[in-house]
């Protein structure tokens, strides 16, 4: 019987301030009633302690989040609707409460002390408190933690994670509500555009058949892709970054890095060089005025030379060992 006082003190500590200690069954019933009206339950400091106090014969999944604009937690805001959806469809699908799972959300502004005591540095964090008594009792009363290290998660992923940790209990599937607004707007837009196409067909045809349009589109796509736009898309690089001295750093250091603005600068350089090339090949020989043609040759040739030199110097900042350069940018 040596363990009894220790256990008592622990549970007393955990249950904290409410001395009027309810039994685990009562607690589950009251939270269950709350969650039927609105889920996930918006928790505060005392209700969090009550929900997670031991012994408990139910499980609790609680997201600790920081929705306030002050914290600028993009991930929290992106995950919140998914979390709401998950808890709603779980609670609705589990009418009898057989899974004995309560969903809760604790915002930083409501439970500062909890965040402190858990030593949380980041948000959101999902904690799953397993039951400590009953048929599904876990060995340890400590919560299982789910980290959002892979960016925002969809409800299905979190659902399968929870289901994995609550075996042998019903796992109501996620029911995504049909997005009526999107359906209707898509239909209206597509019908509208078909009508517009039909009406404007005689005017669209020359555009569709114009070589200038298609050549512009192709060249723009090529410039976009060869200046590393897809890399930005996939890696989600910052548009621009500071240089640590209060200024702006236009070019990222290192051969395998780049910023969004940087790729636009490079695309502009390529575009200028291509334009100079096209002008020298196609436009200049078609200028019938002798003097004008001379000026054009100098201008485009000069633009070509200077821009290429600049491009080489930019490339040398990315790859310091690169040995080649053209005169003004040595």
């Amino acid at each position: 019987m040596r363990w009894l006082p220790a256990f008592l003190s622990v549970s007393l500590l955990a249950s904290g301030s409410f001395a009027a200690k309810k039994s685990t069954e009562e607690r589950f019933k009251s939270f269950r009633a709350k969650s039927l009206s609105s889920t996930p339950i918006k928790l505060s400091d005392p209700s969090y302690r009550e929900l997670t106090s031991t012994p408990r014969d139910y499980a609790a999944a609680i997201v600790l989040t920081a929705m306030d604009n002050r914290f600028g937690c993009q991930l929290c805001r992106e995950f919140q609707p998914e979390w709401d959806l998950l808890s709603r469809s779980w609670t609705k699908g589990d009418k009898a409460g057989e899974s004995r799972l309560i969903f809760g959300t604790l915002d930083f502004s409501d439970g500062r002390d909890i965040f402190m005591s858990l030593g949380l540095q980041t948000a959101p964090v999902l904690l799953l408190f397993p039951p400590t008594v009953g048929p599904h009792a876990a060995a340890s009363p400590d919560p299982i933690r789910y980290d959002f290290s892979n960016g925002p998660q969809v409800a299905e992923v979190v659902h399968s994670w929870i289901a994995r940790h609550l075996p042998d209990r019903p796992h109501p599937p996620i029911k995504r509500p049909i997005n009526w607004v999107r359906w209707i707007s898509t239909t209206v837009i597509s019908l509208g555009s078909i009508t517009a196409m039909f009406v404007a067909w005689p005017y669209i045809i020359p555009v569709l058949q114009s070589r200038n349009v298609w050549s512009a589109i192709s060249l723009m796509l090529i410039l976009l892709f060869t200046s590393g736009h897809m890399y930005n898309q996939i890696r989600k690089v910052p548009y621009v970054a500071g240089d640590g001295k209060g200024g702006i750093s236009y070019f990222a250091g290192g051969f395998q890095n780049q910023y969004g603005l940087e790729t636009q600068i490079v695309a502009a350089i390529y575009g200028l060089l291509s334009l100079a090339g096209i002008s020298l090949v196609l436009k200049v020989p078609r200028i019938s005025d002798v003097k004008l043609q001379g000026v054009a040759v100098i201008a485009w040739g000069g633009v070509f030379f200077l821009t290429y030199g600049f491009l080489l110097s930019v490339f040398r900042t990315k790859n310091p060992g690169y040995p080649f350069a053209l005169p003004p940018f040595l």
Binding site: Q121, D147, S149, N150, W161, R164, R211, N212, W214, S215, S218, L219, L221, I222, L223, F225, T226, S227, G228, H229, M230, Y231, Q233, I234, R235, F255, Q256, Q258, E262, T263, V266, I269, Y270, L273, S274, G277, I278, L280, V281, L282, K283, P285, R286, I287, S288, V290, Q293, G294, V297, I298, G301, F304, F305, Y308, F315, K318, N319, G321, F324, L326
Partner: protein, 745 residues
């Protein structure tokens, strides 16, 4: 008198035969140059197979040469993927091995004594010469100027984007595949231009060869239908297109299905569906074409509408049914990751972990293509000027190819040919304009241009009639500048090849303080040790990167290798590497592992070591066992990946960490151990290993091999046995009581 020799000299270049001879000589020189520029590594190091995948190809080629074609075809390899084995003959692209085997046997028949290794090492440079010639042929189909073809050939020959995968020793599928790619395109254009069944059949033949050689054949499978589709949309359906496309598709698909690895994929998977769809579409168009010629036009209108609606409905229904019934497989992971760029990162870490599958940053484009990267749009624009069928091909290829090259670094290889061709068209048009010796006279030109309108091509910049360049100085300035750029291009290519692409990565080179070269040969040292000192069937566990090399150089069975066909098996190795010894040991026993090989760069500052790749092992293992391995546990609370005293307990207890840093601190004075790769000071007390013992460590500590201990003789577990050996007193275990049980009477 004096004018005659000069006149003769000028006339030399005029005759048709002389030009032909000159062209052949120039092409031969270009082929020679492209071969020569790929020999840096042979001259600097030796004739050796490079990197990882080539070692498997080399091993397979040796098997083919030794055992004949049919045994090769049925090859079941029980020395890889232990204990599963691999149906190697049915899961590889045999084109490369068969090519070098054929060359080997041909040379032997000619009584030229040649080693199969040298055939393999020099195959890629040899084929690059052929690629240059194929680029010449393809470009000649685009323009009337032969100079463009010659420029394309030299660009193709020395562009680093292609050299990166075809230096001597880089014995990989791409070595022959790029030649086949360009040549297939050439034959396609030829077939399309002439509407010739013969050229179409030849195209299908080389397409079949391409399918036998490289998984990238899907690029052709998608590009040709796309070209056909764009032509149809432009209203350019013709019997030429019908004949060439249907010939290519029917014969090419049959040819591709002969490869066991491909099998029925061409009629099942979605990446082959565009080709099939266009094939069907062309049949409909041909049918409509026939009907239009047979019935009056008013009835034809009604017929057309009914026919179009019916076909559409049937096609859609068929597609839905086939997909839902599972007859048509969904997009394969590798291919799908090209479209939905976030897909691989979330779902398939094994694909995301390969550096070749990363997206391309802009410096890589400039590095691999130099000035061609911005001459490329100029050439594409020039293609819009005439816009024949073959020019449409270049434009489609350009857009499509640059998208794929942007998504995946490796596909720079498929972009390079079109960049070279378009760049060559641009440069040759520039040089043709500015090297014309005849200058127009201003006054006569005005008169001429007013009477004769230039044919309208539809491009804005070519509205005005062509005049020509007046001033000699402007001509010479532009030509001189172009000469400088071309010279710079050659220098760039040579520099890139020599510095970036000529390292075998099996042998590393470093500079001594006095500037002399020092060769670091740890890999071969370690593999040789394995070959000499271990049993013939000793299983070696390592991360999959080194599987092919162990198989090729050490000739020992491995658990996983670079043919990443079984993700679970790889994850098992990842779990063994990233778990505690107590967890890893049973895994290794179950897989009969005798030796474990790790690569460690901490002493030398070698970046490609296993600690740097470690997170991928963790991630891949986490994908299969999310409850037992957690990436989060390898990061400090502040989110840093550390190996020094601040490293997390999980990190310090992981097998990989222990094997990497075992005994490392004994090299340094106490407390001074420094990992030169990660610039981290290691804890004073190094890790201890209980379940395995150090067997071999190479000269520079790059490779460390551990022997997995057998079960303890006294039946103890290894942890306590090792503790006993270290002289620690056995802790008196509390009396075995078991958990308290409530006695119920």
């Amino acid at each position: 008198m004096s004018a005659e020799p000069i006149q003769a000299l000028v006339d030399v270049g005029k005759g048709k035969t002389t030009r032909g001879v000159l062209r052949v000589i120039i092409l031969a020189l270009i082929a020679g140059a492209s071969i020569a520029s790929r020999l840096f590594s042979v001259i600097r190091f030796e004739s050796i197979i490079h990197e990882f995948d080539p070692w498997f190809n080399f091993r397979a080629t040796k098997y083919l040469v030794a055992n004949g074609f049919y045994n090769f075809w049925d090859w079941f390899d029980d020395r890889t993927w232990h204990p599963l084995g691999r149906v190697t003959g049915g899961t590889l692209y045999p084109g490369l091995m068969v090519t070098s085997g054929a060359i080997y046997h041909a040379l032997r028949t000619l009584t030229i004594p040649v080693d199969i290794r040298n055939v393999c090492v020099l195959l890629a440079p040899g084929f690059s010469g052929l690629t240059a010639i194929a680029a010449y042929l393809l470009t000649n189909e685009m323009t009337v100027h032969n100079s463009a073809g010659l420029l394309a050939a030299i660009f193709m020959g020395i562009a680093p984007g292609y050299i990166s995968r075809s230096v001597a020793g880089s014995y990989d599928n791409e070595a022959i595949a790029i030649f086949l790619l360009v040549f297939t395109f050439y034959l396609w254009i030829k077939a399309l231009k002439q509407g010739s069944m013969l050229w179409g059949a030849l195209c299908a033949l080389f397409y079949g060869y391409m399918v036998a050689s490289w998984g990238g054949y899907a690029f052709i499978t998608c590009l040709l239908p796309l070209h056909a589709f764009v032509l149809i949309c432009m209203g350019r359906y013709s019997t030429r297109l019908y004949v060439s496309y249907t010939t290519w598709y029917a014969l090419g698909t049959l040819a591709s299905m002969q490869i066991p690895f491909v099998g029925f994929l061409p009629v099942k998977t979605s990446e082959h569906m565009p080709a099939l769809g266009i094939f069907g579409f062309l049949q409909l168009l041909a049918f409509l074409d026939y009907v239009r010629s047979a019935i009056p036009s008013r009835q034809f209108q009604t017929f057309l509408w009914l026919f179009a609606g019916g076909t559409f409905a049937i096609g859609l229904a068929g597609l839905v049914v086939a997909t839902s019934a599972g007859i048509i497989a969904p997009w394969s992971g590798r291919f799908y990751s090209l479209w939905d760029t976030g897909y691989a990162k979330i779902h398939i870490p094994i694909i995301a972990s390969v550096s070749e599958h990363q997206p391309t940053a802009w410096p890589a484009f400039f590095f691999d293509l130099n000035m061609l990267v911005y001459l490329f749009p100029v050439g594409v624009y020039l293609c819009f000027q005439k816009l024949h069928d073959e020019h449409v091909f270049i434009i489609v290829y350009a857009v499509f190819g640059s998208y794929f090259a942007g998504v995946m670094v490796r596909l720079m290889l498929t972009l390079t040919p079109v960049v070279c061709i378009a760049g060559a068209i641009a440069v040759s048009s520039l040089l043709d304009t500015y090297l014309d010796a005849r200058s127009p006279k201003p006054e006569e030109q005005v008169a001429e241009s007013s009477e004769k309108k230039a044919p309208k091509s539809g491009l804005k910049s070519t509205d005005k009639p062509l005049v020509g360049i007046y001033g000699l100085w402007s001509k010479s300035a532009v030509v001189a500048a172009m000469g400088v750029y071309l010279l710079l291009f050659v220098m760039h290519c040579t520099w890139v090849t020599s510095n970036a692409y000529s390292s075998p990565s099996v042998v590393l080179a470093s500079r001594m303080p006095d500037g002399s070269q020092h060769i670091i040969d740890d890999y071969r040292e370690a593999y040789q040790w394995l070959r000499q000192n271990t049993k013939e069937d000793a299983k070696v566990m390592s991360w999959w990167d080194y599987g092919y090399q162990i198989g090729g150089m050490a000739d020992r069975p491995t658990l996983v290798d670079n043919n990443t066909w079984n993700n679970t098996h790889i994850a098992t190795v990842g779990k063994a590497m990233s778990s505690r010894e107590e967890v890893s040991y049973p895994i290794m026993r179950q897989h009969e592992v005798d030796y474990v090989l790790v690569v460690f760069g901490g002493l030398l500052g070698y970046s490609g070591d296993d600690i740097n790749k470690f997170l991928w092992m963790v991630r891949i293992a986490e994908g299969i066992w999310p409850d037992e391995v957690s990436e989060r546990a390898f990061f400090t609370p502040r989110g840093e990946y550390k190996v020094d005293a601040e490293a997390t307990e999980t990190m310090k207890n992981s097998l990989m960490y222990k094997m990497s840093y075992y005994n490392f601190n004994n090299l340094f004075p106490p407390g001074q151990a420094i990992d030169r790769m990660r610039q981290a000071r290691l804890p004073e007390v190094g890790p201890t290993l209980s379940t395995m013992e150090e067997a071999f460590t190479s000269e520079n500590w790059i490779i460390r091999i551990y022997k997995v201990k057998d079960l303890d003789n006294l039946g103890r577990d290894h942890i306590s046995a090792a503790a006993f050996d270290r002289g620690l007193k056995k802790k008196r275990a509390p009396k075995k009581k078991g958990p308290r049980v409530l006695r119920v009477d």
